[in-house]
């Protein structure tokens, strides 16, 4: 099978799995997850084959693998073509998407307690609450998820959409995949729909990303109108066209067309990748099951936003303003989310804010022109953040086990209830440690170090001092809160009985952790810069060449700076942050307050409440919207104006009706009809003997009439 055909086929297995699970196998749990994982394996296999077939190809970005079909007629002979493509960017994206999707699918089997008994009181729409094992020494064990098959159906649909997005060769099919993912995100955040918080979070995520999507659609429409195509290579590979777009004024805010459409598309990214100010949905999205948080809200869907931004970079880079906006939003988000993450207590929320922060890093990297660094960080981040999320899921799972054991009523996600899990869950601990170190950018061994370093040096080399400073500060905070999380969760002594009874999770959950941990370390090695002292050049910086060739102006940024200042900075902030985190939290005892809250209570409260942005949005968007719908639309417009008009029409109609009835209907019509109705039965009675019930009589009559009519017809029409 050639590569084009294989590319077309990559998204297909998950879609089939989705349809089959929904329609056929949803009653059989084992069959459902086998289908979903089988489909994921097929897609993974195809992705790997495709990836390794192009990885050594020279000049892939000039001559990408493409295959397209005419899809929609747009005129007499012109067609809108859709198709698949494989260039360096989609190849590396495909690589990490395939791996994370596969590991997360496998992880979900263990996470949803496959093989455990049915729960005592479990109902669809609520997380399983545990089952009692009867017999000698009755005890409670985790119970299997009631909507197990449904979960696998949804994540299969999600995987289909993600693969579609990655392999598509134009912005329209990308947008289709993008929106299907939005739907899946909604469905999966609200997976436990009987919980109000989950429902609200689902709606919030859907509506917030919708804001971005609408702008993105506007950008698509505008771009199509300006260029007549949405194909990547026709737009982003065409320097002449880009130049024209960059120099034509759009008439909006003084932006060039490239700037306007680039920014509109970028707003889509802001929604999908949860950048400030549309970041509010992502922390709440942690209401969904942990595999969902890992896949949708860390590894793939939010990455898709950055993927789009990287895609449209050639367009955006035509406009200084657009780049400036991107770097401001990215850098601000990176710092802003990192500060919040330092004050959260929920293990998943910390990671959620960390995700926002890291995505801000990538956006900022794009804003300063560090294209390759952004793509590099996208890949490494996908691996280690998926690892961290799955690790936190494993921790929560272990804690739930402890909670079931001790029958305590406590939140298994609150880090203050944990501690000392290092000994109880060693595999989870070590993999989480790797992920955490990668996130903080622990020097030399972890992937995060190399990608972050590259972003910092990109900002430094471009002379963007403010961005550089902000990102460095954010990196310091990142290392700090990561260490805080690791310390609170795994180190020290157990702070609750539940934590003391926590328990390592099954192999289906730990195996994916190990796989992802492997990549969290090694994924960075493909991008070690050659100028790095000591080990630089030992491994070929393949990533730089491979993805860097996507840019027409390739080579300039890489040549610009070989300064060791960013390198030193990233070393200092990573190690410093980790040390500070350990210093502050390693001595925490059960029942103690957060050290930061003791030191600066006001700041801590502000951070814990996420700068009150949710409350602010509540005040300026939600409440006015509610006021408009309730008071203005309902009371004033609906009840008073529209109802008034309708009642007026109704009364007028009634009056007219009365007049017609009393003056015309009753005296004239009714009498006539009464007379008529009296006549009809009499007529009927007189005709009754004809209706003898004898078919032969009827037929005699019918034939007599037919013969007479025929004779008359002949006489009058034929003879005459």
């Amino acid at each position: 099978m050639n590569t084009q055909t294989l590319l077309w086929l990559i998204p297909l297995p998950p879609l089939l799995a989705f349809a089959l699970i929904i329609l056929v196998t949803n009653r059989w749990k084992a069959l459902s997850h086998s289908l979903a994982i089988g489909a994921a394996v097929l897609s993974w296999l195809a992705s790997m084959v495709v990836f390794f077939s192009v990885v050594r190809v020279e000049g892939l970005s000039e001559n990408p693998i493409v295959s397209s079909i005419p899809w929609m007629p747009t005129g007499a002979d012109s067609w809108f073509r859709i198709g698949v493509t494989l260039d360096p960017l989609s190849a590396v994206t495909l690589f990490f998407v395939a791996w994370t999707v596969l590991t997360i699918f496998i992880y979900s089997v263990g996470y949803h307690n496959f093989g455990q008994p049915r729960g005592d009181h479990d109902v669809p729409g609520l997380p399983p609450e545990g089952a009692t094992v009867k017999g000698k020494g009755a005890h409670r064990v985790p119970s299997v998820e009631p909507m197990y098959s449904r979960f696998f159906a949804f994540i299969s649909l999600f995987a289909f959409a993600m693969y579609t997005l990655v392999v598509s060769d134009n912005l329209l099919t990308l947008y289709i995949g993008w929106e299907i993912m939005g739907l899946c995100s909604y469905l999966l955040i609200g997976f436990w729909y009987a919980r109000k918080t989950a429902r609200d979070a689902a709606v919030k995520a859907f509506l917030t990303t919708r804001v971005g999507d609408v702008f993105m659609l506007l950008g698509l429409v505008g771009l199509y109108k300006a260029t007549g195509t949405l194909n990547y290579h026709a737009i982003f590979g065409n320097e002449e066209l880009l130049h024209t777009l960059g120099t034509t004024a759009s008439g909006v805010l003084g932006l060039s067309q490239a700037g306007l459409y680039g920014l509109l598309l970028f707003i889509g990214t802001v929604g999908k990748s949860a950048q400030f100010p549309l970041h509010v949905w992502l922390p709440d999205a942690m209401e969904g099951p942990t595999p969902v948080s890992a896949m949708i809200h860390a590894a793939t869907m939010v990455s898709a936003g950055v993927y789009l931004s990287i895609r449209i970079f050639p367009l955006v880079s035509q406009s200084e303003t657009a780049l400036l906006v991107m770097s401001i939003i990215g850098a601000f988000t990176a710092l802003f989310a990192a500060t919040i993450a330092g004050a959260q207590n929920d293990i998943k929320r910390v990671l959620a804010y960390s995700t926002i922060s890291q995505l801000g890093y990538m956006i900022a990297a794009l804003g300063v022109g560090a294209y390759v660094a952004a793509a590099f960080h996208l890949v490494t981040h996908a691996f280690f953040k998926a690892l961290l999320f799955l690790g936190s899921g494993s921790v929560i799972h272990g804690m739930e086990h402890g909670v079931l054991h001790t029958n305590e009523h406590l939140d298994p996600q609150d880090m203050w209830n944990m501690g000392g899990l290092r000994k109880k869950m060693p595999l989870t601990f070590w993999t989480f440690l790797i992920g955490g170190f990668a996130l903080s950018g622990f020097p030399l061994v972890t992937a995060g170090f190399w990608s972050k370093d590259e972003i910092l040096s990109g900002a430094f080399a471009g002379g963007h001092w403010v961005v550089f400073g902000t990102l460095a500060l954010a990196a310091l905070l990142t290392a700090f809160y990561t260490m805080r999380q690791i310390t609170l969760t795994f180190l020290g002594q157990p702070r609750t009985k539940a934590a003391a009874h926590a328990h390592e999770t099954p192999a289906t959950m730990t195996l994916p952790l190990v796989v992802l941990a492997f990549f969290a370390v090694t994924a960075g090695w493909v991008g070690i810069p050659t100028y790095f002292p000591g080990i630089g050049g030992l491994i070929n910086p393949w990533f730089e060449e491979f993805v860097g060739s996507m840019l027409p102006a390739h080579g300039e940024a890489a040549e610009a700076g070989h300064s060791l200042i960013p390198l030193a900075t990233s070393l200092v902030v990573a190690l410093g942050g980790l040390y500070l985190g350990w210093l502050a939290y390693s001595k925490v005892q059960a029942g103690q307050q957060d050290p930061i809250a003791r030191a600066v209570p006001g700041v801590h409260r502000l951070l814990q409440n996420k700068y009150y942005i949710d409350e602010l949005y509540q005040k300026i968007f939600v409440q006015p919207a509610r006021w408009i719908s309730e008071t203005f639309s309902y009371r004033i417009v609906d009840r008073t104006i529209i109802d008034g008009v309708l009642h007026g029409i109704g009364r007028g109609g009634l009056g007219l009706g009365r007049f017609v009835r009393n003056q015309i209907d009753m005296p004239v019509w009714n009498r006539f009809l009464e007379w008529l109705s009296a006549r009809i039965p009499a007529l009927g009675r007189s005709l009754r003997p004809l209706q003898s019930g004898r078919v032969q009589q009827y037929m005699i009559l019918a034939i007599t009439v037919a013969v007479l009519v025929g004779v008359l017809f002949y006489y009058f029409f034929v003879l005459a």
Binding site: Q691, G693, R694
Partner: protein
């Protein structure tokens, strides 16, 4: 050489005979017999017209075949109805079957 008129007169006579049977007989099966006669006279007409006026064309022959099929179907259904009525009401005299009387 037989003129076409002979066939037409013959067929018309057979048709009228059948029609009389349908209209005048008491027994439902006899009515069916009358219907068969009428259908046969139609077939004679069709074949005569074909032979005298439209010879190589196949439309007439198709019509004859269709009439044969219709006759077979009609007989089968008609007899099934008669047997069903006979089971319920123990009669095959159509005048006794007058549930639709006004």
């Amino acid at each position: 050489m037989i003129p076409l008129s002979w066939y037409l007169i013959f067929a018309a006579a057979l048709f009228c005979t059948g029609l009389f049977g349908v209209l005048a007989r008491k027994n439902a099966i006899a009515i069916l017999i009358g219907i068969e006669l009428m259908l046969n006279s139609v077939n004679i007409n069709l074949l005569a017209f074909w032979r005298y006026l439209y010879a190589p064309d196949l439309s007439a022959l198709t019509f004859v075949a269709i009439v044969l099929v219709a006759a077979a179907a009609e007989t089968a259904v008609g007899l099934a109805l008669i047997i069903s009525v006979y089971r319920r009401r123990s009669t095959v005299v159509v005048d006794d079957i007058s549930l639709m009387k006004g």
